[in-house]
C-alpha cells in the first residue's frame, strides 16, 4: 500500500490520473500536451515518464503496446484496497 500513497503524494501524478480518467489510453505525447496546456505542468517528457513509472509500479497505470505505439491506461483496482480497509460507504461501517 505504501506504493499507492507515494503515487498520490505528488500533484503532477494526480493530474496524470485525472487526464487518463478523462480519456484512457494516451501516448506520452498526448499526456505531456494535456499536462502543459491544461494544468500548466511544463515538466520534461523524461520527468513525466518517471512519474508514469511510479504510477505503474503502484498498479494505477498500465502501459500497453499496440504495434509500434505505446499507450497508458488508468487502473482503479488498487484503490479497492483503501476502501476495503476504510469503507467509504456509511452502511458498511460497523
Amino acid at each position: 500500500m505504501d506504493d499507492l500513497y507515494r503515487a498520490f503524494a505528488v500533484p503532477t501524478r494526480r493530474a496524470i490520473l485525472d487526464e487518463l480518467v478523462e480519456r484512457d489510453g494516451q501516448s506520452l505525447f498526448e499526456l505531456c500536451g494535456r499536462l502543459v496546456m491544461k494544468h500548466g505542468i511544463g515538466s520534461s517528457r523524461q520527468a513525466i515518464s518517471q512519474h508514469l513509472e511510479v504510477l505503474e509500479s503502484a498498479g494505477l497505470v498500465v502501459v500497453k503496446r499496440e504495434g509500434r505505439y505505446k499507450f497508458h491506461w488508468f487502473r482503479g483496482e488498487p484503490l479497492q484496497a483503501i476502501t476495503e480497509r476504510w469503507p467509504a460507504a456509511p452502511q458498511k461501517r460497523k
Partner: protein, 130 residues
C-alpha cells in the same frame, strides 16, 4: 531567405505519394527520378503555389531508429493546419487512417495525431479564430 520546402522521411516513396495525395488530399508537384529514389514533393490543394512538402526516403539507418522512437511516444514529426478538425478526423478515419490521438481541445487550438502509414505520426491543428 524564405521557406519553400520541408520534408518528411518516408519508408516507401510510392506508397507515401499515394497516401499524401489520395488520402490526405495534397497535390503532386514534383516526381523526378534521382537514381534509386525520386525527388517527390506535394502541395496543398488550397495553396498550390505555397510551401512544398518533400517525401524523402528514410534510407539512412539512423532515420529509422529516430522515427520508431518518435512513434512509440506518440510524437508527431510535423503539423498541418486544418479549418475543421472534427470533420477532417471523421473523414480520415472513414478512410482507415489510424489516429493515436483524437481531437483534443486545448482552448486556443485543437489538435489530433494520426499515422501516415510511412513511419511517421502527423499532427493536424485547428486554431481558434480570435
Amino acid at each position: 531567405m524564405r521557406l519553400n520546402i520541408y520534408s518528411v522521411m518516408v519508408d516507401d516513396q510510392a506508397k507515401a505519394l499515394r497516401f499524401y495525395t489520395e488520402v490526405l488530399g495534397f497535390q503532386k508537384k514534383h516526381d523526378i527520378p534521382m537514381g534509386e529514389h525520386s525527388w517527390i514533393t506535394v502541395v496543398s490543394a488550397e495553396d498550390p503555389g505555397g510551401t512544398e512538402l518533400g517525401l524523402e526516403p528514410d534510407a539512412h539507418p539512423a532515420a529509422k531508429v529516430f522515427k520508431a522512437a518518435m512513434v512509440e511516444d506518440g510524437i508527431p514529426f510535423t503539423s498541418f493546419a486544418v479549418d475543421d478538425i472534427a470533420a477532417e478526423h471523421k473523414r480520415l478515419e472513414s478512410l482507415g487512417v489510424r489516429f493515436t490521438q483524437p481531437p483534443v481541445d486545448y482552448g486556443t487550438v485543437t489538435t489530433a495525431v494520426f499515422d501516415d502509414t510511412c513511419g511517421n505520426l502527423i499532427q493536424i491543428a485547428q486554431e481558434k479564430s480570435a
